[in-house]
């Protein structure tokens, strides 16, 4: 399937795919762009925006934590850090100097599914940004050494401490993933990885990971902002064309997960108040149901009229806050509910109250007005997104990387807008079942504050 999409794009060659040209309707849901591929497989997407004299360059690699192997969790993200330590012709520090040092910025992010690197620069520094990205794609290993790897390893361990271990409730999503997916499943570990596995990562790991995944045929380069497209095309050719394609990549087989029974857990943390987390396994980017699940989340929590928020925070006033949403990854997704109780209200009672509201919702479905309210904000959100070069670059790259279509944002938008009350009712019944993980996080020594403490297994690690 993936090859097919590539082949089609190759056939188009250097011709401009003018997705923007067809959309001269009275709509703001439009990002004019061009896309083409180099013979080595690098997909290039360009989009002009002359609002400010700046440009965002985004290099998107189709690799994330789900490509990691057992015993090397956290490696994709650790590798992302190594990508900032200099490369064959770019001494360490030059990258920051040619981005932040000229009024721009740079960063990288790693998810379960992709790793992305970006530079935002004044419009006269586009060529150097491309030079930087090309050099680490082509020549990272020329300057790799263990000292650099070790320094980044320590930093990433601190990132884990700051975000998870030293943060109240910080371990929640790691524990939920471990319990929702079987140990062999590539979504069963958190992107940050375990301390033990971070310690184990070796120089050889870096080399083999780089050779396989950091090849142009696994990369999507987006350039968005105020630049001359012909000049940009020449620079892309100049810096990227001679980087050889890599070997074919075997993607992990990701099976959807259905839990046959409820799994109940309790975790003790340095917190003052207990908190309830519920997670149902759902679907990923490729499933149509994700759109209805997004709307489901928006009808259950958020504004004061949303079902759970209204009932628990405003009417009964047993919760301080409720948040519900669908989190969509490439192959799978999770529907998550978090309830923060008001003192004096047990998690057991809150869980029961939330379940009763969800059951009622499953029986009656949402009203037409609820659907309208949940989707009315999408246009504004989209148009505001158009104000950011980087935001557009990310959007175009995600479409190209996950769906083989940089213009996928239009499909995404229209599918989001066409969700019906019947769709939402159907997905609520399909996914919000007994097969879920219920996690109570309680103050240390207060296991009895868990929801249904007798039925909840203590998480010890």
């Amino acid at each position: 399937m993936r090859t097919g999409r590539f082949a089609m794009t190759v056939a188009i060659g250097f011709l401009v795919v003018a997705a923007g040209a067809v959309a001269q309707q009275a709509t703001s849901i439009n990002i004019p762009f061009e896309t083409y591929r180099l013979p080595n497989g690098l997909t290039v997407i360009t989009s002009i925006d002359r609002t400010t004299p700046t440009v965002a360059v985004n290099m998107w690699y189709h690799v994330g934590s789900k490509n990691e192997t057992k015993g090397r969790t956290g490696f994709a993200h650790l590798f992302e850090h190594v990508m900032f330590t200099g490369s064959g012709h770019v001494p360490y520090g030059t990258h920051d100097k040619l981005t932040e040092g000229v009024g721009g910025s740079n960063n990288g992010t790693t998810s379960n599914d992709r790793t992305t690197y970006y530079e935002t620069v004044p419009s006269n520094y586009v060529e150097s940004a491309l030079w930087l990205e090309a050099d680490r794609m082509g020549f990272l290993l020329d300057s790799l050494d263990l000292t650099k790897l070790n320094a980044q390893r320590d930093i990433v361990k601190n990132e884990r401490r700051e975000g998870l271990d030293n943060q109240p409730y910080g371990r929640a999503f790691e524990i939920l993933a471990q319990e929702t997916y079987p140990a062999s499943h590539p979504y069963s570990w958190d992107v940050i990885g375990s301390m033990e596995d971070l310690s184990a990562a070796s120089e050889d790991d870096v080399k083999s990971f780089f050779r396989l995944y950091y090849a142009p045929n696994n990369a999507f380069l987006s350039i968005v902002g105020d630049f001359d497209p012909a000049q940009a095309k020449a620079w892309v050719q100049k810096y990227f064309a001679d980087i050889p394609a890599g070997k074919p990549i075997t993607r992990p087989k990701v099976e959807p997960v259905v839990l046959d029974a409820e799994r109940r857990l309790v975790f003790e943390d340095r917190v003052q108040l207990p908190r309830l987390y519920v997670q149902w396994p759902t679907v990923g980017e490729k499933s149509e149901d994700r759109f209805a699940l997004d709307v489901l989340g928006a009808t259950l929590s958020g504004p004061r009229t949303a079902r759970l928020t209204k009932a628990l925070v405003y009417d009964k006033q047993t919760a301080a806050s409720v948040s519900v949403n669908q989190s969509t990854n490439e192959d799978v997704g999770d529907f998550q509910m978090i309830i923060v109780p008001r003192p004096g209200n047990s998690l057991t009672d809150l869980e029961q109250a939330a379940d009763a509201i969800i059951e009622r919702f499953k029986a009656e479905g949402p009203t037409a007005e609820e659907i309208q309210k949940a989707t009315a904000g999408e246009e504004l959100a989209f148009v505001r997104g158009l104000e950011s070069n980087l935001g557009k670059a990310m959007r175009l790259s995600d479409g190209a990387g996950f769906h083989g279509d940089a213009g996928y944002y239009k499909t995404e938008y229209s599918k989001g807008q066409s969700v019906t009350a019947a769709d939402v009712k159907r997905v609520a019944n399909k996914y919000l079942t007994k097969g879920r993980v219920v996690l109570s996080i309680v103050p240390t020594g207060k296991l009895d504050q868990a929801s249904k403490p007798a039925e909840s297994k203590k998480v010890t690690e």
Binding site: G103, R161, E162, R270, A376
Partner: protein, 486 residues
């Protein structure tokens, strides 16, 4: 080496076969060792705006931007909780702001929420230490309707008593949660240590003040604070100056002239004690949250530009001295930084970050080393100075990308009383900063003998190593910043 050459040959072949129209330089063997030279520096394009005064005394700014169907609207108030909140009612300003979403004479809280959801937008009300605002962003076609609701919230809020009780309970939960969050603990203790309870900068919201707040307090604060005499109204985006004025005058017709601008007179900052480590115990913490600093000057200081350049080198960028050393070289942290809290009063100089527990002492030694460095022990190089200036100057053109960013930039000029050509003059002022200026402001504003060093971490494991550094004596505080006996 050989691999590089092979790649060069391959590149030539591909170029000849596949591409024929690219420039000649691309056909030559590519020398990747040299960073491409930048093109011509882009021109700074500061958005144009018009400024008038409305009959009710509010200033009124319109800036047009028509590339997208968006409007950013705000009413900004000069002064905030520091000027208008009674000392024993900390949190009242913020509570009043929240209460303005709870219902008006013609719409209850749910009706407000429903109407805004159907318009696809929201109205945000906030009151900070020295300014506050009520604002919205909408698509052009929904602007007038959104503005109508915003005006209703500003002028006709009813402040229902039951909503106050709900918000009070939610804030008490948030305060309880904050006691477990190391950043929050440091964020509450640090200002208390620097400014003490008599200075508005040293005040934090407490359980007592949240519990004591009455509906009368809220009504009184609202009546006193949200007045046009200290307000700026800004409309930025897909509107015209001529067209938007009558729309706004109509929406705010029932807002009579009242209120004046505060004078921002702050009491003197307490005398700074000798450098002290204030240790807040968080048993079992994997990291220590460190905040080091002292009161600084207000934004109006003529030293502003030199201070910005100095701080950019010290801790304002990724490759600044502090982060390059403590994160990148030593690996003690995920990130450290420094900043000056420029406001109307003596905002703090602050540096620090989250440090792995067993390197708390070693990191503190490095913080002190870098502070001494910028104070003269490690002179600033020409390259450092140039990079800091380039970073500050060339950042400016990109700051006018969105309607909210333009609104923020124009509002900021007004709040700080800066001239209309501030953005045009900014680069000249930064470019003029010399190494001597940098050293001068470092010495003037960083007093290494009178620093407050707040450390929130696991006392059992970090206390002895901290003592052994001999950097400063240790004082012990609880998580609210009150002294502990031992």
């Amino acid at each position: 080496m050989m691999r590089t050459r092979l790649r060069g040959l391959a590149s030539l072949t591909i170029l000849l076969v596949v591409v024929t129209s690219f420039d000649v330089s691309a056909r030559q063997a590519l020398d990747r060792t040299k960073a491409p030279a930048p093109g011509k520096t882009p021109e700074l394009r500061v958005p144009a705006w018009t400024k008038t005064t409305l009959a009710n005394g509010a200033d009124f700014i319109v800036s047009e931007k028509h590339d997208l169907p968006l409007v950013s609207f705000s009413v900004t108030f000069l002064g905030g909780s520091n000027q208008f909140e009674p000392a024993e009612r900390t949190g009242l300003a913020s509570m009043t702001a929240s209460m303005m979403s709870e219902g008006t004479k013609s719409r209850d809280g749910e009706a407000l929420s429903n109407a805004l959801q159907l318009l696809g937008t929201s109205v945000s009300t906030t009151v900070g230490g020295e300014s506050g605002s009520i604002s919205c962003v909408s698509t052009t076609d929904k602007f007038v309707q959104t503005l109508d609701i915003l005006a209703d919230m500003l002028l006709n809020s009813t402040f229902p008593a039951d909503a106050l009780e709900r918000l009070r309970a939610q804030r008490l939960v948030a305060l309880t949660q904050a006691r477990a969050e190391p950043d929050e603990i440091a964020g509450r203790v640090f200002p208390k240590v620097l400014y003490g309870p008599a200075h508005p900068y040293g005040r934090v919201t407490t359980e007592e003040s949240i519990k004591a707040m009455t509906r009368d307090d809220v009504v009184a604060f609202h009546g006193k604070y949200f007045q046009p005499g200290r307000a700026l109204i800004t409309v930025v985006g897909d509107v015209t100056a001529a067209g938007s004025k009558p729309v706004i005058e109509k929406a705010l017709a029932a807002w009579p002239k009242n209120g004046s601008r505060p004078d921002f007179a702050y009491p003197a900052v307490p005398e700074r004690p000798k450098t002290t480590i204030y240790l807040v115990d968080r048993p079992g913490a994997a990291q220590s949250t460190v905040a080091i600093g002292q009161p600084g000057p207000p934004r109006s200081t003529p030293d502003y530009y030199a201070m910005q350049v100095m701080n950019t080198m010290l801790g304002g960028m990724f490759q600044s001295r502090l982060n390059a050393n403590i994160r990148e070289e030593k690996g003690y942290s995920y990130g450290v930084s420094s900043s000056f809290g420029f406001g109307k009063g003596p905002g703090p100089f602050r540096t620090g970050g989250d440090i792995v527990g067993d390197k708390t002492d070693a990191a503190l030694v490095e913080f002190m080393k870098e502070l001494k460095g910028i104070l003269g022990e490690r002179p600033v190089t020409d390259e450092e100075l140039q990079t800091a200036k380039d970073s500050l100057i060339q950042r400016l053109p990109g700051t006018f990308a969105s309607v909210t960013a333009i609104n923020g930039a124009l509002t900021s000029l007004w709040r700080q009383g800066l001239p209309d050509d501030y953005y045009q003059q900014y680069s000249k002022a930064v470019a003029a900063v010399t190494k001597a200026d940098v050293l001068g402001v470092a010495k003037k504003y960083i007093d290494i003998d009178r620093l407050a060093i707040v450390v929130v971490g696991d006392r059992a494991s970090i206390e002895a190593p901290l003592k052994a550094t001999n950097i400063a004596p240790i004082a012990y505080l609880d998580i609210e910043g009150a002294p502990k006996t031992q």
